[in-house]
């Protein structure tokens, strides 16, 4: 069922819009349209422009919200707008303080890290660095030298040169140290060192005490800064966790305010300095609309105009599905395909019935059906999964067909089959030979479904005043007669009755085919258009011929497609037979129960999945494609009705 819609135009003084939204729109679901776009004929309207005062606070709180771990797990508390804004201000201020402290630490770190890096290799030097730097008659150089060169230097040169090299530290490649040389020798000795690839490191005069002391002071400072940063990080984290409820609540409150405020985007304003009015347009269900009108009768600041659905001809009303509680899970499949248009038939009940029925026929097993039913039901009730609801419904029919086939958990002998055994029941068909009865029944059922769909299509098309689709299309009256004739002939053939005379058959098949062939000119003729045949007649005939060919082919393939119902009924029984064989139940004696249970679970899961998909395929391809367009708009209420 598709809910009846009413088009409402609500108007009132400009300043009153927030109160109106607050009081009424939270109680009545309304699908708003852009008022300016709807009321184009009235030029005296302007957009309702006002800056959203909550935007900034909302952006800021959202950034904090994103830093929270798992924010969805926290339930927001109710908070009014003023509190929310003040919470945002407080959080911003406190986090800025943390931020500033961190930046300060970073600055300090950057300042000291260079001097620390320089002094680190020389930290074992037990002399006052600044004194060394002030030496007058002795030259010195801090630096490093590659190990292999240092070895040569030590071996061949060091003893003969007037220099002292103090090794301070080493890493994998280098020795770090400082050498001293008397002033008058400096030139020569520097040359020797540079031949040995000594690399000078410039040491600034910024250290206190010996290198060792200077290093330990700086190192401590460095560690302190890192500890400070670590502490700052922890503080920031704790700050977030301490305030997480506040953040979540404030965000929720502000979001609500902001989105209510955003109603202005869809509103229009009358022009003028004073006494301006807002106008809102939108759709409400008939029931809501009447209740709303009743409600605002005493409110002298709100005026509401209710129109019939057709009057704003440009836009079709949005679709809101309303179905029996039992069928509601199946709305999922409809939404996956596309919602029905407002004036289209809602196929939910049809899908619900056929889907469950076909699923049951393909998966007939009392035990597994009951498992699906209870499993689905529990999941549907606890987790509100639509798919679980569908499985549960399908499980009922599964159980039903289980009794029909006499099958429980794969044991075919325990129950008596009320109807037939898919594996063994056979049937003679003329022209084809001996077949499983279920195959023939499946095809017959498919033909029945196809015919039903054609009827639906005709009804839909009549409602839409679509001549071609009512009379001449492959799913229209012409198609119905043609396919019906085939079905009738098939039934007569199988039941062994005589076919009608050839002349009658020719009429039954020939005329609908001719109609389908000439559907375009015929439509033009009925609709009294000037040009009946298209200009290029040759092209038209070729195209129509191939289209007709394709139509016939698709009748055949669509019909055969329903074979899968029978095939899966047989395959289910066959798979369970394999399971029982593996469990050793076929040879008599007690079967291996573990294998029986595991096998049942496996088949139940796999077959359930495959059958579920196959039936969905039947629904979408063979059934929906005949009568259903699915190009409706969803009814999106501006505000969800608050749950009482």
């Amino acid at each position: 069922m598709i809910e009846k819609m009413k088009f409402l135009s609500i108007t009132g003084p400009k300043a009153d819009i927030d109160r109106m939204t607050e009081t009424y729109l939270s109680r009545y679901e309304i699908h708003l349209e852009n008022a300016l776009a709807e009321l184009t004929e009235d030029a005296n309207l302007s957009p309702f422009l006002e800056i959203n005062p909550y935007r900034e606070a909302l952006t800021s709180i959202s950034s904090f919200y994103e830093q929270l771990e798992d924010p969805e797990s926290i339930t927001p508390q109710k908070m009014d707008t003023e509190t929310a804004v003040s919470v945002v201000r407080r959080i911003q201020r406190e986090s800025r303080e943390l931020e500033e402290a961190r930046e300060k630490l970073h600055e300090q770190h950057a300042e000291m890290i260079d001097s620390l890096k320089i002094i680190r290799p020389f930290r074992n030097l037990e002399y006052d660095v600044s004194e060394i730097l002030k030496l007058q008659y002795i030259h010195y150089r801090f630096g490093r030298i590659e190990k292999q060169y240092f070895k040569k230097f030590e071996k061949y040169i060091y003893d003969t040169l007037d220099t002292i090299f103090l090794k301070c530290s080493e890493d994998e490649q280098y020795y770090y140290g400082v050498y001293f040389v008397p002033k008058h020798q400096a030139h020569k000795v520097h040359a020797v060192y540079s031949s040995m690839h000594f690399e000078q490191i410039f040491v600034p005069d910024c250290y206190q005490g010996t290198a060792k002391e200077a290093f330990s002071i700086l190192d401590k400072l460095h560690k302190d800064i890192h500890a400070g940063l670590e502490q700052n990080k922890k503080d920031a984290e704790r700050f977030l966790t301490d305030n997480r409820t506040a953040i979540v609540s404030a965000k929720a409150a502000l979001e609500a305010c902001s989105s209510s405020f955003d109603i202005r985007r869809l509103a229009a304003c009358t022009k003028g300095e004073n006494n301006t009015f807002y106008i809102l347009c939108g759709w409400m269900t008939e029931k809501d609309a009447l209740a709303f009108q009743e409600d605002i009768k005493d409110d002298d600041k709100i005026f509401c105009l209710m129109e019939e659905e057709q009057s704003p001809a440009k836009k079709t009303p949005p679709t809101k599905l309303h179905n029996l509680k039992l069928f509601r899970p199946f709305e999922m499949y409809i939404k996956m395909y596309g919602l029905p248009a407002y004036n289209e038939m809602d196929p939910t009940w049809f899908v619900a019935l056929t889907y469950s029925f076909i699923f049951g026929a393909m998966f007939g097993d009392v035990g597994q059906g009951l498992l699906l039913f209870f499993g689905g039901l529990i999941l549907y009730k606890t987790k509100h999964m639509d798919l679980a609801g569908i499985i549960s419904c399908a499980g009922i029919f599964s159980t039903f067909f289980g009794f029909m086939y006499g099958s429980i958990f794969g044991f075919e002998e325990v129950l008596h089959a009320f109807w037939l055994k898919p594996m063994t029941a056979m049937m003679d068909v003329p022209l084809v030979g001996r077949l499983n009865a279920v195959f023939v029944i499946a095809i017959g059922f498919g033909m029945f479904l196809i015919l039903t769909c054609m009827v639906f299509n005709i009804i839909n098309s009549v409602r839409n005043h679509n001549t071609e689709k009512t009379w001449f299309d492959s799913n229209a009256v012409a198609g119905l007669i043609f396919y019906g004739s085939i079905a009738l002939s098939a039934v007569l053939l199988v039941s062994g009755k005589k076919l009608p005379a050839a002349a009658v058959l020719a009429v039954m098949f020939g005329i609908p085919l001719l109609l389908m062939f000439l559907k375009e000119p015929l439509t033009n003729l009925v609709e009294k258009k000037k040009q009946i045949f298209p200009e290029q007649k040759g092209m038209f005939f070729v195209q129509s011929f191939f289209e007709l060919f394709e139509v016939l082919l698709s009748y055949l393939s669509n019909t055969l497609s329903f074979l899968r119902i029978g095939a899966f009924a047989v395959s289910h029984a066959a798979m369970m037979e394999v399971v029982l064989m593996l469990a050793g139940a076929t040879e008599g004696g007690s079967p291996n129960w573990i294998i029986v249970v595991l096998g049942n679970l496996f088949v139940c899961a796999m077959e359930g999945l495959i059958v579920g998909i196959q039936v969905l395929r039947l629904e979408y391809y063979e059934i929906f494609s005949r009568f259903y367009a699915g190009n409706g708009r969803e009814f999106l209420p501006f505000k969800k009705r608050e749950c009482q």
Partner: protein, 347 residues
């Protein structure tokens, strides 16, 4: 006794292979020939190259291509020995094969420094060998266009460290990089020899490489004295940091000596000066080869069941190729056979 068993097979094989090497008599015959295709035809008749070269057309080959083929034969023979060797012997061969890696790297680096874009390094002689015996990815290395790229491409390889160290020096030249590789390789040999080898093998390797390093150091010292007049400290920086028979004091004195003549007098008093009478400071370069061959042959003869046999053969094979290359050049440019033989003997 253990050595006798483990080396009996390989030493027989090497003796067989050695007998195929081109002799001095054959070289003399080659020098009499009038052009390059004739030399190739001649070589195709020798047992060393007959099998491998039988499908080649001597008239279509350029001298450069022949040189590559000769090079390939070195690697080919190395692989044959490697296949035959046991685990212990392979350790030596693996250590030895690094010299081939260094050789290729040097070729590539020469190219990089000279910007010889027109004639990229031809790696075909090495390809096969490197796939089997090396972790170097030649295709990747030859694709490099700067030293930076080359060093980056070597990341993870043992040569990365010495080369990247050189990169830190100011205006490092091709020579510095090549030197770094050599020094790295030599110190590796010297440092791991005691771990890898024992007994006779250790002794042979110590002698062979010890003398080689000493001779190289002597060459360095005299070259820098004679031609480059380098400061002592710069000379020290280039020396291989190992001493065998040269004492530290002797090296010190040689490097610090102010004149070339003084250095020559000092040299006479060293182990090598005393051992080889003909060895003079001025013919060190030529004598280096003679001496090395001499030492290796002597060792191989004295200890036919030791690693010296392997070393000696590989040396001879490389030497053969080198001599053949010279012979080819002489034939190509019509050098008088007697004069040509002189060049060959000197090497």
């Amino acid at each position: 006794m253990g050595n006798l068993l483990s080396y009996s097979g390989i030493s027989a094989k090497i003796r067989a292979m050695q007998s195929k090497l081109t002799t001095e008599k054959q070289l003399l015959e080659i020098l009499q020939l009038s052009d390059v295709p004739q030399v190739i035809a001649y070589l195709k008749r020798t047992p060393e190259y007959a099998e491998v070269w039988k499908d080649l057309d001597e008239n279509a080959l350029h001298r450069g291509q022949i040189e590559k083929l000769l090079k390939t034969s070195i690697f080919h023979n190395f692989s044959r020995i490697y296949q035959f060797a046991n685990k212990e012997q392979r350790k030596f061969l693996e250590l030895y094969s690094k010299r081939y890696e260094i050789r290729v790297l040097k070729e590539i680096m020469t190219d990089l420094f000279d910007h010889r874009d027109t004639d990229p390094v031809d790696i075909t002689p090495y390809c096969e060998f490197f796939r089997k015996h090396s972790r170097l990815d030649l295709d990747k290395l030859t694709a490099c266009t700067t030293m930076e790229e080359l060093i980056a491409a070597l990341k993870g390889h043992e040569f990365y460290q010495p080369l990247s160290q050189i990169r830190n020096h100011e205006n490092a030249l091709l020579f510095d990089y090549g030197m770094a590789l050599d020094l790295y390789y030599f110190s590796q040999i010297w440092n791991v020899r005691k771990k890898l080898f024992s007994g006779n093998d250790l002794k042979e390797i110590t002698t062979a490489y010890g003398e080689k390093f000493d001779m190289l150091n002597l060459q360095f010292i005299f070259r820098s004295k004679k031609y480059f007049h380098m400061a002592p400290a710069d000379i020290y920086a280039l020396l291989i940091p190992m001493n065998y028979k040269l004492k530290k004091e002797e090296i010190n004195a040689l490097v610090e000596s102010t004149t070339y003549d003084q250095a020559r007098a000092l040299f006479r008093r060293t182990y090598y000066g005393r051992k080889y009478e003909h060895l003079e400071a001025h013919n060190l370069e030529e004598f280096y080869n003679v001496m090395l061959r001499d030492t290796l042959e002597k060792e191989a003869r004295r200890d036919p069941y030791s690693v010296a046999v392997l070393y000696s053969y590989l040396y001879h094979k490389e030497h053969e190729v080198y001599r053949l290359t010279i012979a080819l050049e002489c034939v190509r440019y019509g050098v008088d056979p007697q004069e040509a033989l002189q060049y060959i003997r000197n090497n």
